[in-house]
Amino acid sequence: MMKTEGGGNKARKHRFGDAIFQFTRNRLAVFCLLVLGAIIFCALFADLIAPFGIDEQQISEALQAPSRSHWFGTDNYGRDIFSRVLHGGRVSLLVAIAATLLSTVFGVLFGSVAGYYEGRIGNLIMRIMDIFMAIPSLLMAIVLAASFGAGLNNTILAIAISSIPSFTRVVRAPILAVKQNEYMEASRAIGARTPRLILRHILPNILAIVIVQSTLGVANAIISVASLSFLGLGVQPPTPEWGTMLSAGRAYITKCYWMVTFPGLAIVLSVICLNVLGDALRDALDPRLKM
């Protein structure tokens, strides 16, 4: 009898190893990961990279178009826009990531509790989330920001709170589904207790969703920060941030397009990378994931 050729499945040991493999095959996603890495690098080391300081005003050079010495031009105070974009990136990304981290933690917490303990506690949590979700999230963030006041920390808090409800809902759904699964019953039948059930069965299932949702969440948060700052409710000048730069540039829009264009492009670039990453992660981790 001859040996079998072809066929036979290799046992996939780790689901995440498989996911990483899938992910690396998506060239666009890897490219965006690298670009994002570059953006984060620039933001972190803005002090070293930026040719000018954030507040270095050279009035004589105000409102200059992009040139070799000022790649992105100068603003109305003569400050180099390229440097300000780099430093602004630090603020925008910091706020976005911090806010998303907060909303992830609390979203998972509330969502897990609401999903696992379906009775009164779960209901109460979801009713409260319903109230928050009755207002579009940007408006919610605006009202929160107005209430807390301006400033970096308050902005982070406002954006975090406005994102928690959707996170909660997204986390709760698979938990409800997994709870019904027969292997949960089987585990309970052989005596597994609640912590073990949660750790071994529920968490791996929601981990995939949480990773994808947070990535996309950072993207949305960047836009939210920019919107809030643009409206004057978030980060305050003179702190450079992409949104405040857009707001400042608006007054000069007729003559100096560069004040508005480059910060905007920075936002677009970062958000595109995050969106592509989020989609790629979703495809890699579970092509059946529908959100």
Partner: protein, 321 residues
């Protein structure tokens, strides 16, 4: 069906009450004193105090809230604006039609730009149109829409001088704002349409339809599209709900006198009653939009049964084999 609608509307009431309480509390504990903002920083302390008494700001929080809610429930009175002393209802209703018109334009733009391309993109997957659509869709969804607005102003108002940059006095004032909001929403609709149609086009009943000898165009329109409609309608409905809340930043950029701009201006001037009333209106519109989407779900998909709706007659006895 009617019972379901009534039940849903009744369920909206506690949510709206919750919203009003939430916003009331947030504004109450916000920094900044409305009286001082109205009278100016230079006003004497007594005048400010008197104003605060007049506006009822010195009473305990709960008392203020209960008075507020009672006035709404008994007289339908949302209070008066701190700034102009006009009834809030009047102030809001002055602006709401503009927002409604904007929302209508934007939804139209959104559907016209997003839906057909989404369908074509899915039907001709991997073609040039598909790749282009997916790329443009990705970029458009990643843009803050107010930035798009400013870019449009730069191109069409400043460089080309074709369109006016602000105000809302004629049809040519509508184009750029509608494009701004419509474009980014169209991108989101395109992505949803594409993925929904792609999913349906792979279903077995599509093969069945083709095996009947049906034309491809009918297969797509009648079999695929109608099944793909649910997520599409959801996106359209929710987007419309959000637009009814005033495309806040866009109204700011183009100086459009709608609800969005009203809310921002009122927040900045601490005109609490106006903010509360406007947010309540937005929450109501949003909830109604959600309700309409749910109702449409049950109309379109016969598998989604609303409890209490008429059951198909006589079907019970055949439910064994």
């Amino acid at each position: 069906m009617i019972e379901y609608i009534i039940k849903r509307i009744l369920m909206m009431i506690p949510v709206l009450i919750g919203v009003s309480l939430l916003v009331f509390s947030l504004l109450h504990f916000a920094p900044g004193d409305p009286a001082r903002i109205i009278l100016g920083d230079d006003a004497p302390v007594e005048a400010i105090e008197a104003k605060r008494e007049e506006l009822g700001l010195n009473e305990p929080f709960l008392v203020q809230y209960v008075k507020y809610v009672t006035k709404i429930v008994t007289k339908g009175d949302l209070g008066n604006s701190f700034k102009s002393n006009r009834p809030v209802t009047e102030v809001i209703l002055e602006r709401y039609p503009t927002t409604l018109k904007m929302a209508g334009c934007c939804i139209l733009m959104m559907v016209v730009m997003g839906l057909p391309i989404g369908i074509i993109s899915a039907v001709k997957q991997y073609s040039l149109i598909d790749n282009l659509a997916v790329t443009i869709g990705l970029v458009a969804v990643s843009m803050p829409n107010f930035w798009l607005g400013m870019v449009l102003i730069i191109i069409f108002s400043v460089k080309l001088k074709w369109l006016p940059a602000s105000g809302f006095y004629g049809w040519n004032y509508w184009i750029m704002p509608a494009m701004t909001v419509g474009f980014s929403n169209a991108a989101s609709l395109l992505r949803t349409t594409r993925s929904s149609v792609l999913e349906c086009i792979r279903q077995d009943y599509v093969v069945t339809a083709r095996a009947k000898g049906q034309k491809e165009s009918v297969v797509i329109l009648h079999h695929v599209l109608r099944n793909a409609l649910l997520p599409i309608l959801t996106v359209i409905g929710i987007s419309f709900g959000i637009m009814l809340g005033g495309a806040i930043v866009t109204e700011q950029i183009f100086s459009i006198p709608g609800i969005g701009k009203l809310m921002i201006d009122s927040i900045n001037s601490r005109d609490y009653p106006v903010v509360q009333g406007a947010v309540l209106l937005v929450a109501l519109s949003f909830s109604l939009a959600n309700l309409i989407v749910d109702i449409m779900y049950s109309i379109i998909d016969p598998r989604i049964q609303i409890k209490g709706a008429k059951k198909i007659k006589g079907a019970e006895k055949y439910d064994e084999n």
